[in-house]
Symmetry: C2
Subunit: 300 residues, 2 copies
């Protein structure tokens, strides 16, 4: 078994490669749930839905959010009626979200996602990191902001001084998935708001220490490949570089994959963790994704 | 002021005529809410939405449900995902329902409908009969059924033996709307499940007794023009005819409008109520609707 820890953009890109070369029955994907919340009357688990759509080939992989070719009839009508949605929910995407909301009336989040994955023909085991409600608050120079407000309404512009997250328990099977894997891949997702929430779950660090863990750095040079990772790392006084990523994961990381452009950091990182792999980590084409996946899988 | 009591199909047809000849600022429409409930995670007030769509010229007036020209992307995807909806909700229609559901978090139903009517450019005063949750159970030879299950899942087929409805209080302004009107029009809606719920509200019968009340019979011959009215009347041992309608409304009705085809019933009905008007009550064209509306308005 292989287990991937995933957020919402960088790791799904990698998953498009992994799913081409790994049998999905041999794959667990543990997904961040920290930002999940109700919007427009439906439960939104953005990272989980991105993973569901990625694994079922439905993903809008320009936005890494929603379904490719989706329409926005309801969303546009809501704006016209004077109730604009914070999140731009497409009509097909809304069906997924309505179904999950209805399933949650009688099931845990993990059970609901399992049912949805089956309906979508997905064989990989997609595991929400937790079944519990959680909160994440971004402390900024514009005040304390909800995560999605910071991301969308404020376009990640305010200066970030701290990030406050609630502590939740892992969903059943999360720790066991890691324990039963020959390799854990930490995808190039935001280390602070996507990966650390998974790692901080009770029992996860201990399980990671017993497993071979490879991470792909989401930072090239001094900036994140996508999203506000660099802003969040700076706020927590972590160097915004692959060196910072290595220091964050050092307690359990066996191999950090960094981009060719950061080859000069290899030695410095080898002082922090045992192995560093230098390759192309920018995933534009499916070949980029498959090549990176193959290299990772072949590390052990 | 004129006040119309409305259900979901027959009366909206008449409203299409009334709105052409009455200033909307002079018009109250009190709408049945008995069957309102949550479906697919949204609050569904079918009769209210039909009246909103009718007054804003959005109504699908073939089905008398939903928005004309609507698409069904979310509805069809939900079925594909294994969660078919009991009610076929269109994408534009869903926006209305989502907005109402969100408004209900901080407003009464009457306040929410008022906000929606304003956004839709409607000047008539659309009043839900009650702000309270209610239930309606159809007792049949197939057991006790929820109203929408009877209507849609069972296609009105089972034999009806009784109808059980919950008692609710009128929304603020309902009794006053009737008291302040020179005429109340009871539209040709189902007398049992659409009109009686309004009439049974505390204070409504007394207010109707003090006002000139005209009703349009929803029965021609021995059957309802549309919907299961005749089945419900039979279950309550009310003659399925305009005579039965007259007897139901006799305590407060001043004039019953019956169809030309029932001219032979005129004398019998005149033994029950004071005035009977015979005319064409089948509303196919806009002219039919305008002619009938004009005749009613000119009664006083």
């Amino acid at each position: 078994m292989i287990t991937v820890l995933s957020g919402g953009t960088g790791t799904p890109k990698l998953l498009q490669g992994i799913k081409e070369i790994v049998n999905q029955d041999e794959l667990n994907i543990i997904v961040n749930t920290l930002e999940n919340d109700y919007f427009s009357g439906v439960y939104i688990s953005a990272d989980i839905d991105t993973v569901l759509y990625t694994m079922s080939d439905m993903i809008n992989d320009e936005l890494w959010y929603g379904v490719k070719g989706d329409t926005f009839v309801t969303n546009e009508k809501l704006a016209e009626l004077g109730t604009p949605e914070l999140l731009r929910i497409g009509d097909i995407d809304r069906a997924t979200k309505i179904q999950k909301t209805l399933l949650l009336q009688n099931n845990t989040l993990a059970e609901s996602v399992k049912i949805q994955a089956e309906h979508m023909g997905i064989h990989a085991n997609i595991l929400p990191m937790s079944n519990e409600d959680s909160e994440i608050t971004i402390v900024t120079d514009k005040g304390k902001l909800e995560f999605h407000d910071f991301l969308i309404k404020y376009q990640c512009r305010p200066e970030v001084t701290d990030i406050i997250t609630s502590k939740v328990n892992p969903a059943p099977g999360v720790v066991e998935a890691i324990e039963n894997s020959s390799m854990v891949i930490i995808g190039p997702s935001n280390p602070i708001t996507s990966i650390l929430p998974i790692i901080s779950l009770n029992g996860v660090i201990d399980a990671l220490k017993e497993t071979y863990v490879v991470a792909v750095s989401p930072i090239i040079g001094n900036d994140s490949v996508s999203g506000p990772a660099s802003k969040f790392m700076k706020a927590l006084n972590i160097p915004v570089s692959s060196v910072g990523v290595a220091s964050l994961y050092k307690d359990f990381l066996d191999n950090l994959v960094i981009d060719n452009k950061d080859e000069n950091l290899k030695e410095e990182i080898e002082n922090i963790i045992e192995n560093v792999t230098v390759t192309n980590t920018i995933m534009k084409t499916l070949d980029d994704k498959k090549n990176l996946s193959e290299l990772i899988i072949n590390i052990i």
